[in-house]
């Protein structure tokens, strides 16, 4: 087992607005150095909340009530916002879902790519420009100079996502959080982007936490996977184990519900109501145990 870069230990979160309802229930996972760890689940499972907790951008209606996030010995949840900001961007970077809103529409790509290089790496303006051009080449943009001088709206969706990936890898971070990075893209572009993330990650030995609702995408890019349901980890396994011998009934049901062009009968099998009832009961029992221990109010 390789060394862990990120360790999430018993992370618990509640929705303050929604009567302290649990959003994350004792979530623990490890991302090793140089591996891609997938978090997969349906909408509302808490996938993005985990990503936001790491980045310190938890929305105000969500409260973390327990657990630790350890990044190479740093306890991220106890860092001051100044200390956290020093880590973010430099050591931890984000590839957001929607490249059209993640980029500032009023600034040229060059300005957005060089900010971090100048502020966090102390490069001069001309050094930063050269480096930004090289970064765009690394994400296989053929005409980096034109792109550097473009505004986001002048680029296609796939191109904008490449720019975001370049920005994420710009400072050679140790951990990249990819939150549904290909959801808005066509399948052919999606494949190129997945390929790109994987090759950059392998070249730089970066760890990636890859959040997705799509088991197919996770199957292709992740080494390990955590399956999340209602904020609780149902199963953790290597991608190979998960796909060939899923242990948890929920994972099995999710795989059956996923349509596959090579198997026309799949995609018509919803998760059985009996299974959902059983999962809900399991979660209610968990919540009752937490309440007995004084959570989430304590």
């Amino acid at each position: 087992m390789s060394a862990a870069r990120l360790v999430i230990d018993a992370l618990t979160a509640v929705s303050v607005r929604d009567g302290n309802r649990f959003i994350l229930r004792n979530v623990s996972l490890k991302v090793a150095i140089g591996e891609v760890h997938g978090i997969v689940g349906e909408s509302g499972a808490g996938k993005s909340t985990i990503a936001k907790a790491i980045l310190g951008i938890i929305p105000s209606q969500v409260k973390l009530t327990g657990g630790r996030i350890d990044f190479e010995g740093l306890d991220l949840l106890s860092l001051s916002s100044t200390a956290l900001r020093a880590v973010l961007g430099r050591d931890i970077a984000l590839i957001a879902q929607d490249p059209s809103t993640a980029l500032n529409p009023a600034r040229r790509i060059e300005a957005q790519l060089t900010d971090g290089l100048r502020l966090k790496r102390g490069l001069s303006a001309s050094e930063a420009r050269l480096r930004a051009g090289a970064l765009l080449e690394e994400v296989q943009i053929r005409d980096p100079m034109r792109v550097l001088h473009s505004y986001p709206h002048q680029l296609s969706g796939g191109m904008r996502q490449r720019v975001l990936i370049a920005a994420a890898f710009a400072l050679q971070p140790k951990l990249v959080i990819a939150d549904e990075p290909t959801t808005a893209l066509d399948v052919t572009v999606q494949k190129q982007i997945l390929k790109l993330i994987r090759s950059l990650q392998e070249r730089h030995g970066t760890s990636v936490l890859f959040v997705s609702h799509d088991l197919g995408v996770v199957a292709k890019i992740c080494d390990h996977v955590s399956v999340l349901y209602m904020g609780k980890v149902m199963e953790q396994a290597t991608t190979a184990e998960l796909l060939t011998a899923p242990r948890h009934p929920y994972t099995q049901a999710l795989l059956r519900a996923n349509p596959r062009y090579d198997a026309p009968e799949t995609g018509l099998q919803p998760i059985p109501p009996g299974l959902i009832a059983a999962l809900r009961a399991e979660i209610a029992a968990f919540d009752a145990r937490m309440a007995a221990r004084g959570y989430p109010d304590g």
Partner: protein, 284 residues
């Protein structure tokens, strides 16, 4: 063939032709979206239209149902050329051709109850004699799509995404159409909800002998409910045929590329290194 319900021939559509910008030096020519598309839909069959963004699949759907008028070509529905019909003459055909939209949140009037959304079209088209019989039929259809009858008094924002899409389906089929177009209706849903909606559609098409045109970017979804598939690229049809045939032995390079790009949830470690690279797909 007598079985054909809808025949589209040589459809050409461009957008923006008549628009002239005050600041443009030259008159802007229309952006061509469909370049001579021909398509037939038989009674009771489900035809999938697949393509990436900008392929013209949504425009094709809207043209088939008469929401977009083609610059050239014709659409015949049950023997009637609807291309030249004005809104008034289209009216008697409308209940027979319905549409289910991608986003029920924006296609269902937020200020109307579901009951009103379902009964109003029946009354407008004179398909229900009185309010009570319209309510009765709305109740039946809600039950058929798997919603509680209390849904009648709900507003669309009170429902979940899957429930809303069921209402979208109920609204389309309550008029007992023979032809329905569904445009990306499951793309925002979780896989389990998606499976429920797809299953419902499959049952309804066979029960009601509905012809369904199912527009989607997802070939796996199309495979699970369609009889035939039409593959579109940049406003033209690059391949069409029965699903078994197209999926087992795609003839067009583009179809093959689309299939290769779909990440299946199966163990296939070489998938990422195979297939199209940025160079041969084009960067934009």
């Amino acid at each position: 063939m007598a079985d054909e319900l809808l025949i589209a021939t040589g459809l050409v559509v461009s957008y923006g032709k008549s628009r002239r910008s005050l600041f443009a030096r030259t008159q802007r020519l229309g952006v061509p979206v469909l370049h001579g598309v021909s398509l037939e839909v038989r009674k009771g069959e489900t035809v999938g239209i697949v393509g990436e963004s900008g392929s013209g699949k949504t425009t094709l759907g809207r043209t088939l149902i008469g929401l977009v008028k083609p610059a050239a070509g014709s659409v015949c529905f049950d023997g009637v050329d609807i291309t030249a019909l004005d809104e008034h003459k289209m009216r008697p055909l409308r209940p027979r051709m319905q549409m289910i939209f991608q986003d029920p949140m924006s296609s269902l009037n937020p200020r109307h109850t579901i009951g009103r959304i379902l009964t109003q079209p029946m009354r407008l088209h004179g398909l229900a004699n009185d309010y009570a019989s319209a309510r009765g039929r709305a109740h039946d259809i809600l039950e058929r799509v798997g919603l509680a009858s209390s849904t009648m008094d709900c507003y669309s924002h009170e429902l979940s995404g899957g429930q809303r899409q069921r209402v979208g389906i109920a609204r389309a089929v309550v008029l007992r159409p023979s032809f329905v177009i569904a445009d990306e209706i499951v793309s925002g849903l979780d896989v389990s909800t998606q499976a429920q909606v797809l299953r419902l559609l499959k049952e309804l098409t066979s029960e009601m002998h509905l012809a369904l045109v199912f527009i989607s970017h997802d070939l796996s979804v199309i495979r699970s409910i369609c009889d035939r598939v039409v593959v579109m690229q940049s406003g033209t049809i690059v391949e069409q045929g029965p699903c078994e045939q197209v999926f087992a032995a795609p003839r067009a390079d583009y179809t093959r590329m689309l299939l290769d790009a779909i990440p299946l949830p199966i163990l296939d470690p070489d998938w990422l290194s195979r297939g199209p690279t940025a160079e041969n797909v084009g960067m934009n």
